[in-house]
Symmetry: C2
Subunit: 227 residues, 2 copies
């Protein structure tokens, strides 16, 4: 498949690498290609310098946000929370049209230090904002409740016996995303929370997730819902 | 033990009944005793009319918020979110002094319909507001992430193999609350999230919890944290 990845951070890199490894053609989109290639600092989570990482992954190419969206059969939004709406705008409504957008972003606000608060919550969510920004697209919020390395390898934890959530207005799009997440990464357990307004739930779970990370000393964690 | 319970709703009733059954003396506090006894409507969750319920539970007595706090060795706040700070104020700083307050309340705002939003979140929490309202007391936020009947009987679900969270500034108070929750109700698994500011996490989990209830069709649910 042709997959458009918005965002060059650890989430975008981790997922792009895994998808390319599985034979997919991934175009990673960024605001300024030459600036991204000129980066000399390693990633915030110890990733290599971006241009070096790109050379190591021949199945991944770099382009503008619009380049990433244009050829894509599915678009994955893996930008930071504060960059998400700009990335969607730059990707362009005509490139996104009625495509599925898997939205992984979290509206984390680091401006007041650690742990971050949320820049949108309670009566709105970033998932809803993205859906409003491209009404024809089918936004499916998922994967935002786990760390990048667990997104692409859920069986690293309890053989995958833990849950992912899905929020989105289009039932068929959610079913398609479930099939992809099973096929691409081996996810086993999903809970469809409902329409895109339910993205408030998994986004507002982040403050608990961040404190669980602090209490447990690892971000390699997830929750199993028991009923 | 002498236990002071703030709140006459389903959480207060469920916990008071269980504690009285185990031989504790529980004083349930309310704003207006005669008004509470004069209620003729059943509880919102199908509980009997309050005065009838009280007669069925001889180990439970009714008093003002101050009465409930005055004799208590531990105070449990089980009011609604919008009544919590008033209840704490009426209980009185001199009655609460340096006691442990187990705070179960959630700042749910039903004014815009269902599902509720939160009246405080993100950069503050109800747990913190209560701690600020009675600085000498030892507020421990816990139990607010599960439904009332599960609070007092965690083994109804997966034999108790799921988690409770604790937030509070006083480490010894949290350890004492853990001992009580084991002894009173049979809870097995706890995660100490840190100081009272970490109450933002479990309170902001409520929007996810509410949507899990909707998706799964039952509030008899909890999460197991896997790492």
């Amino acid at each position: 498949m042709n997959i458009g990845m918005l965002g060059t951070g650890v989430v975008g890199q981790t997922i792009a690498a895994k998808l390319a490894e599985n034979g997919h053609a991934v175009t990673v989109g960024t605001r300024d290609v030459s600036q991204t290639l000129a980066r000399t600092e390693p990633g915030a989570y110890g990733q290599p310098v971006f241009s070096a990482w790109l050379k190591e992954h021949p199945g991944v190419s770099l382009g503008s946000f619009a380049d990433a969206a244009r050829q894509a059969e599915v678009v994955i939004n893996a930008t930071s929370g504060d960059g998400a709406l700009e990335a969607i705008a730059l990707a362009g409504a005509s490139n996104l049209n009625s495509k599925i957008i898997i939205d992984i972003s979290n509206p984390l606000d680091f401006s007041q230090g650690m742990p971050p608060s949320l820049s949108v919550c309670n009566t709105d969510s970033l998932g809803e904002q993205i859906q409003r920004a491209c009404p024809e697209a089918k936004v499916v919020k998922t994967l935002n409740t786990v760390t990048a390395s667990l997104m692409v390898n859920p069986r690293r934890l309890a053989d995958g016996e833990h849950h992912l959530f899905l929020s989105g207005n289009d039932v068929e799009a959610k079913a398609q995303v479930v099939d992809w997440l099973k096929e691409w990464f081996g996810w086993k357990h999903f809970i469809d929370l409902g329409d895109i307004t339910t993205a408030r739930g998994p986004e507002m779970y982040l403050p608990l997730w961040l404190r669980l990370w602090g209490a447990l000393g690892t971000g390699m964690l997830n929750i199993q819902v028991i009923k």
